[in-house]
Structures are given as C-alpha cells and as structure tokens.
C-alpha cells in the first residue's frame, strides 16, 4: 500500500476516524495497530519478523543499559547495535547475496528465478533508528523508554516506517508517551503538505523519470549532452521523489498532531559539499555524522588531518554501503569522502584567497559555489543511479564525448576573438550554426527529441517547477493560512485539478502506482 494509492486514502481516513473515537491515553494503540497493518499490507510476513526483532533488541538493550552504571553501559550498546546490524544485514542483503551467489554459480542449487524476490523496505531505516536510540541512551541524552507499546510505535509509526525520516528518541518518543491529541491547525497543515508531496511525486518526479529512465536504461546509445541532461534531470527526479515522500510522511504525522523531523532544506542551493549534507536527507546524514564520523574523528584526533580524512572516508563509505552493496554505491560514498576531505584541506587557503581578493561577500562567488557544488553532487549521482558500475564508468567518461571541448574552444576563440576585427556578420552566422551542430549532435537521441516524450509533458513540467518555485517564495512571504479563504480554496481547487490532469489519470490510470525511489534502500 503506497502513499499514492487509492487504498491508502481509504486506510488513512479510517485510521483517523477510529483515532478520533479513542481516548487520548489509548490512541497509541490505534496508531500501533494501524502501523502494523500498514506494514503487513506489503504482504511480506518476514518484514514483520524483522520489525519485531529490531524492536525487541533495541527495547531490551535500552532497558538493561539504563539499569547499568554509566561506566558499565558499553557492552549493551555494542551488543544491541551489532544485533540490529545483523538483523539489517540478514533482511536487507540476503536477497542480494543469494542472487550474487547463485548468479555466479547458476548450476548449483535453485535458479535465481525460483528465489522469492526479497523486499526489505523499511528495515534499513528502523534498524538505524534502533541503533540511534541505544547510542543516545549511552550518551545519556535520553532515558530508556519503559513502555514496550510506546516503544513499538516509536519504531513502527507508519508515516515513517518505509523511508524515514530516521527519528531520534529525544524528538519522537516524548510525543508518543503522553496524551495523543488532535489539532485542527496541525491536521490541515498536514493535509496541505501531503497534497504538496503528492504533487511533487506524481506530477514532477514521475514525469522526469520518463526522461531519465530511457537514458540510464541503455547508456551506450547516448553520448555527451544527452548524458549530461539525463544526470541533471535525475538529480531533480530524486529530489522531488524523496522530498515529495518526506512531505507526505510529515503531513500524515501532522494529521495526528505528531511532528517528524525535516529531511530536506533546499539542498541544491548548498554552497559546499558539507552544507549539501546538512540539507540533503538530513535525518540520515545526522545519523552518519553523530554515530560514525564524530566518534571516529574524536578517536583518531591525534593523527591530525589524516585522522579527519580517514574518518570522512569511512563515514561516507558506510553511507554508500547503507544504500546497497555494489561498486556503484562504494564509488558514490568514496567520492563524497574525497570531496569532503579536499574541501576541508583547501578551506583555509580558500578563505585567505577570497579575503585577499575582497570576494568574501561577492554574489558571484556564491553563484559559483552553488554551481560547483551542484555539479559535484550530480557527478556522484551518476554512480548512485547507473544500473551497473560499468554503465557508471561509461557515463562519467562520455559526458563530453562528441561535444569536443577543444573544438568548441577553438571555435569560440576563432570567431569571438577575431570576429570584430577581421570577419563580417556572415561568419557569425557560420559560428552559430557550427556551435549548434556541436551541441545537437549529442542531443538528438534524447527522448524529447525522439518523440518518446509528449511535448505537452515538457510544458506541464516547466509549469509545475514554476509553481513550486513561486509557492515556496510566496509561502515564505505570507503563510498560506493568512490568505483570504476565497483565494485559498480557489487555489486548492485549481491545484487538485492540476494534479488530476497533470497525472494523466484520465488517459493512463495505471501510471499512478509507481514506486518511490528510496523504497529499495
């Protein structure tokens, strides 16, 4: 049952109704049962086993750790975390390992086709939440939760079980242990946010996928600008898909007056890689930062810069492996380790350089930093998204093939430098057609230009992006709730119609069941 499916809309309405009829102190039971039913609706019973195992391990280790003296808590932290990790590995990677193993030796045992396709959606998220809970008790930032029911809800709460956010005990537990209330302001804001997320996912991300998937599906049919364009568009597809999901999760929690943590804060406007990670998938990056990077960095502090570099590499390698065991994710993680290490080593020089050139506050520098960061991030996405490591290598190596940087540069030099002096207007036309050829040669295969992507889709995409930009700008100036009711409701109506028609539901009803990209992690 996906957030975007009609069955889910009925489910959430029913849950909200039952929730309303229970007393505040017993509402956690409604949410827990709803959460388990929601998770069970994936029809993979072993997932409930995984959830029960992580919940029990974390609950018991937390309780026992709480009873031990502070200096004797370490074994509980280590044992509890290792057990959670083992459960994660078993359920998350078993399918991949079996496939790897059986793929290497097709003759031995069952054929891959006979294996049940193990889906492990959610496990990576709540196993990490369990470890975070234990680490926070160890660091004495929270107290262990005595009530197993409340704790089980903390792990299983359905808006966040499949794709996060990865919650901290200190943030979510206090909201679940007390009275569970209903607040109209929170619920209506939640509904709006849910609708907004639906829009981001169904209208924008799924439409971008139509452009991105053909290219990533057969990379060798494309070169140069087609690949560059596909990578850029994928960057936005992933953002709108995942931040759309997060909006829906936070919105759903808001219906029950529960606040989940934010996951995104305009990540592609970051001016450095470090800042990007403070704005992208924040609940995950904070996890990596607090529980892997910082302890390593503190332990290795005597090694100076080498210690920091090593801690960065290990932390981002772990972050890559969390997404899956493949060379693509290893490369993706290591790229970030290298980016961060270079950025860190180079920071003092950069600061001095900007100070000397009086560029510290220049907007040009800011634009340059955003541009550079975005492109570094996009380059890393290649390995994150490519269907295989060799596909990724091909893409990274072919981004400029066919574009002929040198011939472009020669063209520019030849015509721009000499044009005013020696040549006439006729030559400028020749220049533009030559430059146009260099560009379009590598673009002609791109789905839009092959008629595989209806041109009105391009219009819907551009209009939607414009709407998102305007709404985000306007929302900051004047909150929606302070607009006159007439305008607000006219806006809701237009918006709903837009989602409905933008979806293409009328022509293509099957399309609305597409999966979220982060379900596979």
């Amino acid at each position: 049952m996906s957030f975007t499916s009609p069955a889910f809309f009925l489910f959430i309405t029913a849950v909200l109704l039952v929730y309303a009829f229970f007393s505040r102190r017993r509402r956690w039971i409604v949410l827990l049962v709803a959460s388990l039913a929601f998770y069970a609706s994936l029809q993979a019973p072993y997932l409930l086993v995984a959830l029960a195992a992580v919940t029990l391990v974390s609950y018991l280790a937390g309780r026992w750790m709480g009873r031990a003296a502070p200096e004797q808590r370490r074994p509980y932290l280590v044992a509890g975390s290792l057990l959670n990790l083992a459960i994660l590995l078993i359920f998350r990677y078993l399918g991949e390992l079996i496939q790897l193993f059986s793929g290497a030796r097709p003759a031995a045992g069952a054929a891959p086709a006979d294996m049940p396709v193990l889906i492990s959606v959610g496990v990576s998220f709540y196993a990490f939440q369990g470890i975070s809970y234990l680490a926070d008790i160890y660091l004495e930032t929270i107290e262990p939760e005595p009530h197993l029911g409340h704790f089980a809800l903390f792990m299983a709460f359905f808006p966040k079980i499949l794709q996060g956010p990865i919650e901290r005990g200190g943030d979510l537990l206090p909201q679940l242990t007390g009275d569970l209330t209903f607040a109209e302001s929170s619920a209506s804001a939640g509904l709006r946010r849910f609708g907004w997320g639906l829009f981001k996912k169904l209208v924008v991300a799924d439409r971008l996928a139509l452009l991105v998937n053909p290219v990533f599906g057969s990379v060798h049919s494309y070169t140069g600008l087609s690949l560059i364009l596909a990578v850029y568009l994928y960057a936005f597809e992933l953002y709108f898909d995942f931040s759309g999901y997060t909006d829906m999760a936070l919105g759903l929690a808001g219906l029950f007056n529960i606040r989940l943590v934010e996951n995104f804060n305009q990540p592609y406007l970051a001016r450095s890689i470090a800042e990007f990670w403070r704005r992208w998938h924040m609940s995950f990056s904070h996890w990596i930062l607090d529980y892997i990077f910082k302890p390593l960095q503190i332990t290795w502090r005597r090694w100076g810069s080498w210690g920091v570099t090593a801690a960065l590499l290990v932390a981002f390698l772990a972050s890559g492996l969390w997404h899956g065991i493949s060379w693509g994710f290893v490369t993706w993680g290591l790229l970030y380790g290298i980016y961060m290490a270079v950025e860190w080593v180079y920071a003092p020089w950069r600061k001095k350089l900007y100070r000397r050139l009086h560029l510290e506050k220049s907007w040009l520098v800011k634009v340059w930093q955003v541009f550079l960061t975005f492109n570094l991030v996009c380059f890393a996405w290649i390995f994150f998204r490519a269907n295989s490591f060799s596909d990724g290598l091909y893409m990274a190596g072919s981004l400029f093939s066919g574009v002929h940087v040198f011939s472009c540069a020669r063209l520019v030099a030849k015509y721009w430098v000499y044009l005013p002096v020696f040549k006439g207007v006729v030559d400028f036309q020749h220049f533009s057609s030559a430059a146009g050829q260099v560009c379009t040669n590598t673009l002609q295969n791109f789905p839009v230009f092959q008629g595989q992507f209806a041109s009105e889709n391009v219009g819907v995409l551009l209009a939607s992006l414009l709407l998102l930009a305007v709404a985000s700008w306007a929302g900051r100036r004047l909150p929606l709730t302070r607009w006159p009711a007439g305008i607000r409701w006219a806006g809701y109506f237009t918006f709903s119609m837009w989602v409905l028609f933008g979806l293409g539901i009328l022509e293509n009803p099957g399309q609305i069941f597409s999966q979220f990209l982060y379900f596979k992690f």
């Binding site: 160890y138 660091l139 004495e140 930032t141 470090a274 930062l289 990077f293 910082k294 302890p295 960095q297 503190i298 332990t299 502090r301 005597r302 210690g307 920091v308 860190w344």
Partner: protein
C-alpha cells in the same frame, strides 16, 4: 573562572578570532567556524593546553562550554 579564561585563549587561537568571548552557556552555534570538523581540533588543543585526556564518550556528551569547563576541572582535580 581561570579555566574559562584559559579556554577562551585556546578558542581564540584555534578559530583565529580575537573577539570570541566564552560563557558557560556558549554552544557551537555561537562561535563562527566551530563545526564538527574543527571541534576535534579544538578538543586536541584543549587537551594539550591543560595536560588532560578525554575519552570519546566524554567528548561526545559535551553540550556547551560550561560542561567542557566542568570536565577539565574534574580531570585536573582527579
């Protein structure tokens, strides 16, 4: 109080900013450049200056300057 003054000198040195004035409730958000990367550099500098050694857990638990002062004082007394 003496610990806080020495600590202020260490901070000014590490973060290259002579205008830093530490108070017990000062946190990383109040000092420009005090992020997770420079945090450990500051901790190493503090260890060197006061001739003490912290465990990873002790450093991880610190929430503000006041707690760092308490930790230093307890290490030097013990």
């Amino acid at each position: 109080m003496a610990t806080l003054q020495t600590l202020t000198e260490v901070f000014r040195d590490v973060f290259e900013d002579d205008s830093i004035e530490l108070r017990p409730q000062t946190t990383a958000n109040d000092v420009e450049g005090w992020d997770s990367l420079s945090h450990t550099i500051m901790i190493s500098a503090v260890e060197l200056k006061f001739g003490v050694k912290f465990s990873t857990r002790e450093v991880m638990r610190l929430k503000n300057v006041g707690e760092l002062v308490q930790l230093i004082d307890s290490k030097r007394a013990g």
